[in-house]
Symmetry: C2
Subunit: 220 residues, 2 copies
């Protein structure tokens, strides 16, 4: 297993986050790197999903990952161990979200050479991360079955912002009062253009559909 | 069913939230009202737990509830309908947490007459709500089994701050890789004095233990 580095992020020195995010997006495009911002509640399965996804995507794309957490290095170590991909841990110093400046610091430490696609695993939170443009080319989120099919009604912004919504833990559908029809309607109410893919990261269901989505997005 | 009022909260005008929180706590003590701040991830079961709890607690205490949400009134309507208790919806206007000023606005609208205990259901978020003292006499949180037993490692502050931690959805333990022993150890690592009570709000398991906890806390 490779060593996993941890860097402590300082607050962005730039006030105008949106401009900085646009600049980062252009810079990455020029470098041929596609950046994906991954958001969800705590425990929705971001890390497990990314491991399952990266293990399949790596056949087509060179993938790197940045794991943001308030504290703890468990995710970066786990992903590096289980996928072998280039991985770095970001500590947000108590911050509940990442902005474009923090994302840039992370990318500079990760290094962009030999990468086609970078996942940024944001802090587990359905509110604040959605308010800050990280400079990603694509915002995606994971909603898990145990959280309930009403979440798009309660957390509007994140659903408005995400082009891709994965519904995770579908293997637990028999044990929860969760309707795929309701959740699709509630997501569509917030964002008509969102792509919704049901998955079970644990069992592997639906991961191939997500792989196809990213192959299309990156033209590979 | 009674009508449920919705009020839109404005940002607190006081900069010094901690002082305002202390003042609110004293004011409420003088009025004989015990305020409980309830925090969790989205979908951990705050509303379902509070309904089950209030239906039993109401035999001993006069209970009111404030439901904070970024958007949507579904929780306040549901609680009022299923418990008959005094209920109000707070809209945070996109804010990811409540501070003492917002809590005060809510309490003034709710009215404190004839109440012994008020639950404040905070915005679903494990990060920001823990950073702001609401003026409550007790901070509690709900962690649900599907979220995972590692959450105290990843979200330190909320576990440090909460005197009571309910582990919800224990009826789903067979379907998740969640160890009660691990979660108790991880909680204790953040806060040795936390009371941990396993419950299933849906099935009713453990609710009587939570009722006893609040009877002790309020000397009823």
């Amino acid at each position: 297993m490779k060593e996993v580095r941890t860097i402590v992020l300082s607050k962005s020195v730039f006030e105008e986050n949106d401009k900085e995010a646009d600049a980062l997006r252009l810079f990455l495009k020029d470098k041929g790197v596609f950046l994906v911002n991954v958001m969800s509640s705590p425990g929705a399965g971001k890390t497990t999903t990314l491991i399952a996804l990266i293990n399949k995507l790596s056949k087509f794309l060179r993938v790197g990952i940045m794991e943001a957490d308030i504290d703890s290095d468990v995710d970066a170590i786990k992903v590096a161990k289980e996928t072998g991909c280039k991985s770095i841990q970001l500590h947000t110093g108590g911050m509940c979200h990442l902005d474009a400046g923090m994302t840039t610091q992370g990318l500079m430490e990760l290094g962009l050479e030999d990468l086609d696609l970078v996942f940024l695993e944001n802090v587990g939170n359905l509110v604040c991360p959605a308010e800050y443009d990280t400079g990603a080319h694509l915002d995606m989120m994971i909603l898990s079955v145990p959280e309930g099919d009403d979440k798009p009604l309660k957390y509007p912004l994140i659903f408005q912002k995400c082009e891709l919504v994965l519904i995770n833990k579908i293997d637990t559908l028999p044990y929860f009062n969760f309707s795929m029809e309701n959740v699709r309607r509630n997501i569509s109410y917030r964002n008509k253009n969102a792509t919704v893919i049901p998955i079970s990261a644990k069992k592997g269901d639906g991961i191939d559909d997500v792989v196809e989505f990213f192959k299309r997005k990156t033209n590979k």
